[in-house]
Symmetry: C2
Subunit: 252 residues, 2 copies
Amino acid sequence: MSTTVPVKAAKISLEIVEILRERNGAGVSEIARAVDKPTSTVHDHLQTLEQEEYLVKEGTEYHVSTRFLQLGNQARSRKKVYEIARPEVDELAEKTGEHANLMIEEHGLGVFLYKARGPDAVQLDTHAGMRVPLQTTALGKTIMAFRPRSEVESYLDRHGMPEITERSITDREELFETLDQVRERGYAYDDEERVKGMRCLAAPITDQDDRAIAAVSVSGPKSRMQGDRFSEEIPEQILRSANVIEVNLTYS
Amino acid sequence: MSTTVPVKAAKISLEIVEILRERNGAGVSEIARAVDKPTSTVHDHLQTLEQEEYLVKEGTEYHVSTRFLQLGNQARSRKKVYEIARPEVDELAEKTGEHANLMIEEHGLGVFLYKARGPDAVQLDTHAGMRVPLQTTALGKTIMAFRPRSEVESYLDRHGMPEITERSITDREELFETLDQVRERGYAYDDEERVKGMRCLAAPITDQDDRAIAAVSVSGPKSRMQGDRFSEEIPEQILRSANVIEVNLTYS
DNA sequence: CGCCCCTGTCCGATAATACCGGAAAGGTTT
DNA sequence: AAACCTTTCCGGTATTATCGGACAGGGGCG
């Protein structure tokens, strides 16, 4: 049944905020339909959120306010791995020319913490803060490969294995076999599993106990991500970057 | 009268989140003291927020989660001025070597939307999303100078004129005189009004009706921000940048 | 070691208050 | 100008947020 929480009102407010994010703003009745509540109720929530400055009202439309920027920054800057990995990810993007990313796991989902665009990078739909099921990216698979099976199971229990594209892994056993390979190989790849035409290579950032803290990746169009570059050059680069980050993490 | 809102529970939840941001995480009882509510109540809110994935629990401490990153990004990216001004602000930082900033007004406060660090930039406490009273920065004063007096009055009514440093403007009439000068001069400056040892120059980005949409600035240590550089070179550069942004804004 | 005190968590009763229906006011379209 | 859609306002009712109190887990100190 649909999660019962102690403070329902807060949950509704947050649902409303989330809808405003997805739709890039909306009016009272539109939101009311989306959350399936009377307009008067939604109106109450909107007023509170606006008075508290978490929403901005433009005419009759409400939008999320920049207040969240501060919260997001705080959430990110707390992460030591973010501060330390950032220059490395920048360098990775610079050297490969492609997109380079940093992902962590949170609440069983993969969260893009940082994205660097290399000189040749193509337009991409990822953005900082974006949340995706772990098994749908090379980043996420790398993280799972270096976590205890029981934990991985709980991630899957929580969020299922949705079929994002036709290539998505939707079978548990198949996933765990893949993870075994990743662990053996030391890095993971993704061949059009999330975005058509895109390939991705990812390496884990682990702690002393070989547990994944995060993962770094390089992703680009299939045309450029093949041959030796895909099987050797770039893997070497991301593995080296990941290693540098690990070392810097321990000395700080 | 401490603002009465329709949905008090939501307000409390948000207060808790804000406290977690300020303190970079905290435990139940610490928060309870801060919001002056029983621990049991706070506990209820924390559980809801964590279940909804807006907080992360690490041991017994709660922290804001990266979920806010997405919301913050959305809030910022919606702003056309952000997308368009960003490269200009980067260039400004590059050319002057100092910090360059972009600010907008929201709910009567100044919000730093973007910050670029030039090659010589010194460490600074500003960060994206930071909110400050408008009259405490050159950025804010520029924005106010190009808004109708009635509106400016309402900003002041709402947030007062706190004495951040000994140099803060705390008198209304004095402020409006300053704003007159800014309007005449076309740009504003700030001489250690917010941060000791720092000077700042700011130019407005206005719309067709000469109303401020945002402001750009360059700020650096007093030692470098003086003489012709302070009174001519940099003012020229920020005014030119602001102008480029205005033009790009209208053609898009 | 054992006590104490400060944590976080759980529970249930009660009073507060979030919620909702309904009605009014403002806008738009036909 | 009327029908329709908004958003806003209001007040009664029943839901539910709140809070005291009780329980449990540590950590520190004597």
